[in-house]
């Protein structure tokens, strides 16, 4: 799991996303234990309170459950819901990357952000037109 401390995304959300991806990829299977707070905190070099927060978030989503004194496990519906969330974020990322590329091309051609914004809304309008036609 890679943590980016420079990101504007809070570390606990980055950890939660990392676990979701790992569960979706089958790194941890249903009813299998997840790494302990201590193990994960030391592995990714992050405060254990922050890891705890990530696990709380995943438990709230129903992705993982805790057995008292025995740690945290992947819930039955965990794999499925992790897959859908992970797929969604992967799709979002792909779209954002495509946008970034467009923005770079525009900036390289000397366009202002305002021009880019109006180009983008023009493209959206175009798609809306086409979709309503179809």
């Amino acid at each position: 799991m890679k943590i980016n401390p420079r990101s504007h995304i809070p570390i606990y959300l980055q950890i939660a996303e990392g676990i979701r991806e790992a569960v979706a990829a089958g790194v941890y299977l249903i009813d299998e234990p997840l790494p302990s707070l201590r193990a994960l905190a030391l592995e990714i070099q992050v405060n254990p309170n922050t890891v705890q927060r990530a696990y709380d978030e995943l438990a709230r989503e129903g992705l993982i459950y805790s057995k008292r004194g025995r740690g945290l496990f992947v819930a039955e519906q965990g794999e499925e819901s992790a897959q859908s969330v992970a797929q969604q974020t992967i799709a979002e990322q792909a779209v954002q990357n495509a946008f970034q590329e467009g923005i770079r091309a525009g900036r390289a051609a000397g366009m202002t952000l305002k021009q880019l914004r109006s180009l983008f809304s023009a493209s959206l309008d175009e798609s809306t037109k086409q979709e309503t036609k179809a």
């Binding site: 420079r6 995304i9 809070p10 905190a41 030391l42 992050v46 405060n47 254990p48 927060r53």
Partner: protein, 304 residues
């Protein structure tokens, strides 16, 4: 106050002021740090970070104000405080001719409790050879030895004064590992000062921004990232509105572009800005800790 009361904060500072001659190094600072939290203290050079830590250790005497650590008054009960606090100073005064094991023996004598097992585990983790002389140790080794000395009497509070400054990336990672092990296994409260916002993101759950001897921010790192936002808008006539949100910490106008950073961001803040005359294309931008820190310092406004 009952020192056994575990709900009281690990550190409680009230109205702390330190004058060096005419110069105000710490300015009426009040701060409370929860037990079990890891507090990252950031601020530009000369902000008062080291002065604050040295006063907590009783090395510097405050001009006014009071400090309690785990319920013990730092000035009135210095011995109790020293037994319960571990300290890694910004410079390491160890006799260059002593061996590592001699330094340890010397330090051990100053404490009522000494965990031999923890001490030798830490030496092993850091690959510190007890036979080596202090003068043979690299900067990284010296800092690691300093951490071993600071944690072996099992303190409940750990004070680290810019511990990772000047360490190479590998030594830094090993030091961080040592601190995290103590946080994980001993539920220590840790206060560390640093210039590295990456260290704050990794090690801290709470962050304090010190500037001009005052605490501009004291917040959970996650909450700070979630509630401090930058807003970009276009100003029709290049003039910002007379009414800016009360929570504005910094703003800048460049031509028709208006940038402002606000704390405690909410939809109302956004609506307020959108409703102003001549304000268009309002956009909300997430900030990383580094930009956020710069905006607080540039804005120099006390928000908490």
């Amino acid at each position: 106050m009952n020192p056994m009361n575990t709900t009281e904060p690990a550190i409680e500072i009230v109205g702390l002021t330190k004058l060096f001659g005419e110069e105000l190094a710490v300015d009426n600072l009040s701060l409370s740090i929860e037990r079990g939290s890891t507090f990252g203290l950031i601020g530009p050079n000369g902000a008062g970070k080291s002065t604050m830590i040295k006063m907590l250790m009783g090395i510097l005497t405050p001009t006014s104000g009071s400090m309690r650590i785990l319920g013990n008054d730092v000035e009135l009960q210095p011995l109790q405080v020293k037994q319960r606090v571990g300290y890694v100073p910004d410079s390491h005064y160890m006799d260059r001719w002593m061996s590592v094991s001699e330094v340890i023996g010397y330090t051990r004598n100053a404490f009522a409790v000494w965990n031999e097992e923890l001490c030798s585990n830490m030496l092993e983790l850091f690959e510190l050879n007890p036979k080596k002389k202090v003068k043979q140790l690299s900067k990284g080794m010296l800092v690691k030895l300093s951490l071993v000395l600071a944690v072996s009497h099992e303190p409940k509070v750990l004070l680290l004064d810019e511990p990772m400054a000047g360490l190479d990336p590998l030594a830094r990672e090993e030091f961080l590992d040592g601190v995290l092990r103590n946080v994980c296994d001993r539920e220590q409260t840790v206060i560390f000062s640093t210039h590295s916002l990456d260290d704050v993101q990794r090690l801290a759950d709470t962050v304090g921004i010190l500037y001009g001897g005052r605490m501009l921010v004291n917040s959970k790192v996650d909450e700070l990232l979630a509630t401090t936002k930058r807003i970009r808008a276009t100003l029709a006539n290049g003039q910002p509105p007379k009414q800016v949100p009360e929570t504005t910490i910094w703003q800048e106008v460049q031509g028709r572009e208006w940038l402002l950073t606000v704390s405690d961001f909410s939809n109302e803040t956004l609506e307020q800005i959108k409703s102003e005359e001549g304000v268009d294309h309002v956009e909300v931008i997430d900030l990383g800790l580094e930009d956020l820190f710069k905006d607080y310092v540039r804005g120099r406004k006390v928000v908490s």
